[in-house]
């Protein structure tokens, strides 16, 4: 970056030819070669790619755990896996899928796509972004290391006290769980801040609020949910550790604490969490759909309003996870009503997509197939959601395989299907290469069929009285046939994912080269080469329409007048996106990495001693000060 031919600060991209701007910007925004360069990079695309890859590795690991469980449950009283290991496995599966796959991968898609879609050069706090990834990586590795050490949490992913409390969960298993939660909270909160500020302040000039792509809206709502919901789980996991480590009495009924307090805190986070995963998927569908039907999305305003309404309502229904704990009837009725009410915004979204399809001409490419699979599956998950929202209905199916089926329909159908579609859709943008249409169809077919064959029978099992989280069942119970069927079907599902990953790896190297806009899409990320250069856009685009890339346009209107010798981007106003300043963006730094290491050191140590918070905070403070201390670079000028 400190090239010998650094040009004078007075030279703006206005005065230069495109090729020259490109040369300067590449040097200014690029990632240094070598190991330390890779560690120090703050390029949102590089970090997001790592994030996505890591999250998918966790998906594979979590999937293998699921297969292990299915193997165990294939026969009654099977002795393949003992109860202790099984409890660890399902806890790992749930925790891993929620905290290490679903939430991070959605955040990762946000940090990849949002800056490109709003037409800026990096996220708002790029170093925080790098920090977030390191924290996530270390937290996830910590959980898996504990599994390898036979010390993985074994109390379920919602870790109800007192089972997870000091008396009934000996050892460090639950502490590891709680601290892993802290890691993922920190990383998710960091992403949320970046996304909110990027969208509020770094949109391309002219991208007023009503021209923001639906996906970006979805990511903003998701980020606000993270900001409001994560403190709850942070409080919960911290107090749990305090109860276990220094003997506080938050969850001890004998000393004024309460076991249900944990459930309130957990689900006040846990329910919005579902929408934190689902809303980005809504955004992905809404942004992909227009491309494959040849017309803009129907009901943009309604969709955005539905997103915001869902975001707000999602905080008012946590109690529907607690319908059988014996709360007052009145309260339960209220939460039935609010849980049912969230079906209305969900309905609006579905109807808008159907209307878009209705008015358009569908082109059956792989992403559209996943969207169709999503609608079919998610509506079903929504229907079972309406069922469990009813208190009396819930008393029969709560904590059974019916609920297992329900939330897999919602999470896999509602979030993973769109995500896979999104990977097919944005893969060319991320790598410059297309994924295979043939393999994609196979992957979709196998995953769709495998999914339904695996999870639909679970509804029936639940109604037949099979509780969840049991490591085995007795032969005289009428569950063995369906369980065997499910276990075999899960292999089809796994095969589908295998095809998908084979396709990803193959296409990474050998896929057909994609141009800047292989799908003929209309959002801004397609206005730049694939994969985008480190600076994203040679010149910041100027937006004049909700669909900035209309096929009839031959030229892209852009803004110019930025410096090329330092990382500079445009800050615009919140509502109208009028340019306000030429803000600098921080350059690469190794300190987020050290700060993440120091933070991890403190968090892991604090599992063993409360003094870790005191002594461990010192290296954290040192790393943070070094991170923020000005280095006298052009980026510090103003």
């Amino acid at each position: 970056m400190t090239g010998v031919d650094r040009i004078s600060p007075d030279v703006l991209d206005l005065d230069l030819q495109d090729a020259e701007v490109e040369r300067h910007l590449s040097r200014t925004w690029g990632t240094s070669p070598g190991f330390w360069g890779a560690i120090a990079t703050v390029d949102h695309k590089v970090i997001a790619r790592r994030y996505i890859a890591t999250a998918f590795v966790f998906l594979i690991l979590g999937g293998l755990l699921a297969l292990a469980m299915r193997l165990q449950l294939a026969r009654p009283e099977s002795r393949l896996i003992d109860p202790d290991r099984y409890n660890q496995i399902f806890t790992m599966h749930g925790t891993n899928m929620m905290f290490l796959f679903a939430v991070p991968v959605m955040g990762a898609m946000a940090i990849y796509l949002v800056p490109l879609m709003v037409g800026t050069r990096n996220v708002a706090f790029p170093r925080l972004n790098a920090f977030s990834y390191w924290i996530f990586l270390i937290g996830g590795s910590l959980l898996w290391l504990s599994f390898a050490l036979d010390a993985a949490p074994d109390v379920g992913w919602f870790a109800y006290v007192p089972l997870s409390g000091p008396q009934y969960s000996p050892g460090k298993r639950t502490d590891l769980w709680a601290q892993m939660i802290t890691f993922t909270e920190v990383s998710a909160l960091a992403i949320a801040i970046e996304v909110v500020v990027t969208v509020f302040k770094q949109r391309a000039p002219g991208m007023s609020l009503d021209r923001i792509p639906v996906l970006v809206w979805a990511m903003v709502v998701m980020s606000f949910q993270v900001i409001m919901a994560m403190p709850s789980i942070m409080f919960a996991s911290t107090t749990l550790i305090l109860d276990r480590l220094v003997g506080t009495q938050f969850y001890n009924p004998a000393e004024g604490g309460d076991a249900l307090l944990w459930q309130h805190l957990f689900w006040f986070f846990g329910h919005p969490e579902v929408y934190i995963i689902f809303l980005p998927a809504v955004g992905m569908v809404s942004s992909m759909l227009p491309t494959f039907v040849g017309r803009p999305i129907f009901g943009y305003l309604a969709l955005v309003m539905a997103l915001i309404t869902t975001g707000i309502l999602s905080f008012g229904l946590w109690v529907h996870h607690m319908f059988v704990v014996g709360l007052p009837r009145m309260g339960e009725s209220f939460f039935t009503a609010s849980s049912m009410a969230i079906a209305v915004p969900a309905g609006i979204q579905i109807f808008c997509w159907l209307a878009t399809l209705w008015l358009g001409r569908p082109v059956f490419r792989v992403p559209l197939l996943f969207i169709i699979g999503f609608i079919v599956t998610f509506v079903m998950g929504g229907m079972t959601g309406v069922m469990v929202a009813s208190v009396p209905f819930d008393t029969q199916v709560h904590d059974t395989y019916f609920v297992v089926a329900h939330f897999h329909y919602v999470l896999v159908g509602g979030a993973v299907f769109p995500l896979l579609g999104a990977i097919y859709y944005w893969f060319p943008k991320m790598t410059g290469r297309m994924m295979s249409e043939t393999l994609g169809r196979w992957a979709f077919g196998l995953i769709f069929v495998g999914f339904h064959l695996t999870f639909f029978p679970m509804h029936i099992l639940g109604l037949q009285g099979m509780p969840r989280r049991i490591y085995t069942y007795q032969p005289e119970l009428p569950w063995s046939g369906l369980n065997l069927f499910i276990s075999i079907s899960s292999l089809i599902l796994a095969l589908g994912f295998l095809v998908f990953f084979v396709d990803v790896l193959r296409s990474w190297r050998h896929g057909l080269p994609a141009g800047p806009n292989p799908w003929g899409a209309s959002t801004l990320e397609w206005a730049t080469p694939s994969p985008p250069p480190p600076y994203n856009f040679l010149r910041i685009p100027v937006v004049q329409d909700r669909n900035p890339l209309r096929p009839e346009d031959k030229e892209l209107p852009v803004a110019a007048g930025l410096r090329v010798d330092r990382r500079e981007l445009l800050v615009t106003s919140v509502v109208e996106a009028l340019p306000e300043a030429r803000e600098s963006s921080p350059q690469n730094s190794i300190w987020p990495f050290w700060a993440a290491l120091a933070t991890s050191f403190m968090l892991v140590w604090s599992i063993f001693s409360p003094w870790a918070v005191v002594w461990g905070a010192i290296p954290v403070a040192v790393a943070l000060i070094a991170w923020f201390w000005p280095k006298g670079t052009p980026e510090d000028e103003a």
Binding site: L242, T248, H264, A581
Partner: protein, 200 residues
């Protein structure tokens, strides 16, 4: 795709001040997170209170003097804080330096007083749920004073260094002042909870 220049931004300032600055928004988002955290902790306080037959549980109400003096001190610190912020807005380096030194003291003093607040609770964190939540509330807020104090100290050092005279630094000073105001405002409901609710 070919591009056509329709907008010249070369006349824009190199750094946005106030709500045109990214760090201002970052600070606000951070305050929203912390605010949610405080609100939740207070909600838990009332939840536990509603579960308990008596409140405080097996303890007298906390002694008032340390907490009240601290509250007065914190509220008083808002005045120099706002002054520092406005001086930073005017890029008055000399006054900002003085202000930051004053604000550093204004951060250290409450911490010193805080040491007396914990014994004034007349309960330990592990005695019962009342003790646990009051200690956590107090500890949570202490962390905020402490982090903002460190931030102020680092900024004070920066303002005496060669990096000082820079709109970016003045923006940082303003954001830091904003955050201190938040720390003070967040304390008021916590103060009411810890010291006055048990006396109701």
């Amino acid at each position: 795709m070919k591009s056509r220049i329709v907008l010249d931004v070369s006349k824009l300032p190199l750094h946005g001040m106030g709500n045109a600055s990214l760090t201002w928004w970052g600070t606000c988002a951070f305050m929203l997170i912390e605010g949610s955290g405080f609100a939740l902790a207070i909600a838990v306080y009332f939840y536990l209170m509603s579960m308990a037959p008596e409140w405080p549980i097996n303890a007298p109400a906390p002694d008032l003097w340390a907490g009240t003096w601290l509250t007065i001190l914190l509220v008083a610190s808002v005045i120099p804080n706002i002054l520092v912020s406005s001086w930073a807005g005017k890029s008055d380096l000399r006054k900002v330096r003085i202000g930051l030194v004053v604000m550093s003291l204004m951060g250290i003093l409450p911490l010193a007083l805080r040491i007396f607040e914990f014994p004034a609770l007349h309960i330990l964190w592990d005695q019962n749920a009342y003790g646990s939540i009051t200690w956590v509330l107090l500890g949570l807020h202490t962390t905020h004073i402490l982090t903002d104090l460190i931030d102020t100290l680092v900024l004070a050092c920066l303002m005496f260094s060669k990096h000082a005279d820079n709109p970016r630094r003045y923006g940082d000073v303003e954001d830091n002042a904003l955050y201190w105001n938040f720390v003070v405002v967040a304390w008021l409901p916590i103060y009411a909870c810890i010291y006055w609710v048990p006396r109701l």
